[in-house]
Symmetry: C2
Subunit: 339 residues, 2 copies
DNA sequence: TTACACAATGTAAACGCTTACACTTTTCTT
DNA sequence: AAGAAAAGTGTAAGCGTTTACATTGTGTAA
């Protein structure tokens, strides 16, 4: 069943039916209702392919992420999907894994499906070298690209950021102000936000005129248990700390588990701060204090930017929000001044 | 740039270009190479809309789930996406929330986008009444529908199941055989797999000729903390148990947290068994023993079924696998006989 | 009354592919 | 060597929309 069937049944031309369908051109209210009624009765659904051919859009946005099963990314995808649906856009999902070499291919795949825009979820999409990011800039020549929590400078690329540097700066500063000196920063290998987090950590030390030892920074990709074991190994060499600040909740949970297995009291002997305020943090005992980067808000922001771009509005290439802190059981310090 | 540009440049007809594109009809190797080279040089990408119009497919599968941020569903989506991509299918994601009234609408949305099939991820898609499932059966009249871990009887609906009843039966039986009697079943409100899990639990009691008290079964939708508080309240009324078996890991973690907050030793005083073997279970201390319903395997199975259906192969309407058990710190019993 | 603006509708040409059918050339049979 | 079968290619008719342009009708100002 197609537009001809409807037009015949309604006694109008296909142009009129099409106009009713799109609602942008003039149609008298009487015919409008008549056509609508016929569509309803016949159970007519326009063919998206034909529609796509004509309009060159299928109201679809591609979301690229490394791994949609990752708690943080899964949450982002959920918020993005919900928000996009409010504007009648569908989501084409694309998981690239962590090797950037694949990503060009996946991006081309999305482009070939003629998505209206691409959202890159997660800062691990932005690499250190311009060369590695070229595929993003190239894509952005054709359609809008929005990076969620990653920074990239290129025409037609918009970034929705959380000020990760500042968040880590404030957490660290609070501890330094309280007289703590042995603070460990636990991060992942260097994504954009990873770099920013570390620099916020370092800035706090610098500002106090304090030296930060090399072994106060650990960059480690690995599972919770690997993190735990790493820290246990370290402790056995006699390296202990009073505070561990991290770049994500899994790292923090690894730290909590390390403490538990050595009988170190949390938050008595050791305070731990996670990042992302994910559900994982509610699973451990005590519950994790964690930086809340307001993911839902950022996701809504991303979609907002997109909609404005679609409607030819002016949009700043980069928006930045401040993080909150969800204070729970793994800390006892008073953050009120800093957060 | 379109197929005409390519055909002109290559000095062949558009039919030949199309044939090269689709690779199903006869083209001499020489022309094939020539056309391929021109495409490469021009950076030609076929227009999916036009292609869709002709072929009436866009190589896309819809995945419906209640909430893609849920750890279990997020993992399922990931595996499904990866496997589908192996066959050059893309994923259109659709999160419906938990109210079944919305689902008809979302299903129609997917159908209107002309997906080649729909995968329903999670048993909460299958309701108790036939009426509520009608929208699924209706969709299945048009395209194949596969339910992941849910059971539905209808033409063109395929189910990839894990034998949840058997898993809970075996766990429960093991404890009963060991002389434990106070076992609590903690489930969610009745989805298909929820019902099956409970019936497996009950079957174990029945088979031993034992009575199962009403308060040995709790059906509770809620967060980890709500579960914990519920159990604490129960304990204060003097109701204690030796074992808690659950329908998902969040419930189990709620149980672990309840035990911790009352100083109940795990696994000394209380054993806890989760379900789904999700990442959450690795976050708590001790780590959660959890039924492994082999999600990755099931997902591959779902995609396999789909591919066979697409190629007009005969496929059983329902496939069932057995669960494993990931034994970790919250149990001390020996499951070897049962698993 | 004429001329004109404007609203409502129709006609027909894209949009970029696939593929049935027709045609030509090559290869195989006997 | 003739005829049949197979291989390779082209022509043209869809697929179901959108939309520029043409047409008709209707109210309004001169």
């Amino acid at each position: 069943m197609n537009i001809y069937d409807v037009s015949r049944q309604a006694g109008v031309s296909i142009a009129t039916v099409s106009r009713v369908l799109n609602g942008n051109a003039k149609v008298s209210e009487a015919t409008r209702q008549k056509v609508l009624k016929v569509m309803e009765e016949m159970g007519y659904t326009p063919n998206v392919f034909a529609r796509g051919l004509g309009l060159n859009t299928m109201q679809t946005v591609g979301i690229m992420c490394a791994d949609s099963s990752d708690s943080y990314l899964a949450t982002a995808i959920y918020y993005l999907e919900q928000e996009l649906r409010n504007y009648d856009y569908d989501v084409l999902l694309c998981c690239t894994g962590y090797e950037w070499e694949n990503r060009k291919k996946y991006m081309e795949l999305l482009l070939s499906k003629r998505v209206d825009a691409v959202i890159l979820a997660g800062s691990n999409f932005v690499e250190q070298t311009r060369e590695k990011n070229r595929y993003i800039a190239e894509a952005a020549e054709k359609i809008p690209v929005v990076v969620l929590n990653g920074y990239l400078e290129a025409e037609n690329v918009y970034c929705a950021l959380c000020d990760d540097a500042d968040a880590l700066y404030r957490v660290t500063k609070t501890y330094l102000n309280a007289g703590k000196r042995d603070i460990l920063f636990l991060g992942r290998s260097l994504s954009y936000s990873g770099v920013r987090k570390r620099s916020g950590f370092l800035q706090a030390y610098e500002e106090m005129g304090l030296k930060c030892r090399k072994n106060q920074i650990i960059i480690q990709d690995g599972t919770i248990d690997e993190i735990r074991d790493l820290l246990i190994g370290r402790a056995k060499q006699g390296i202990r700390e009073e505070v561990i600040v991290t770049a994500d909740d899994e790292l923090a949970i690894g730290a909590v588990k390390y403490a538990k297995s050595l009988g170190i009291q949390i938050p008595g002997d050791l305070e731990v701060v996670g990042y992302n305020n994910s559900k994982l943090g509610l699973c451990c005992e005590p519950e994790l204090t964690s930086v809340d980067n307001k993911l839902e808000y950022s996701c809504m922001n991303v979609v907002n930017v997109l909609m404005k771009v679609f409607h030819h509005g002016r949009v700043p290439a980069r928006t930045m929000i401040s993080a909150d802190l969800a204070v729970r059981g793994t800390t006892s310090i008073n953050f009120l001044g800093g957060f």
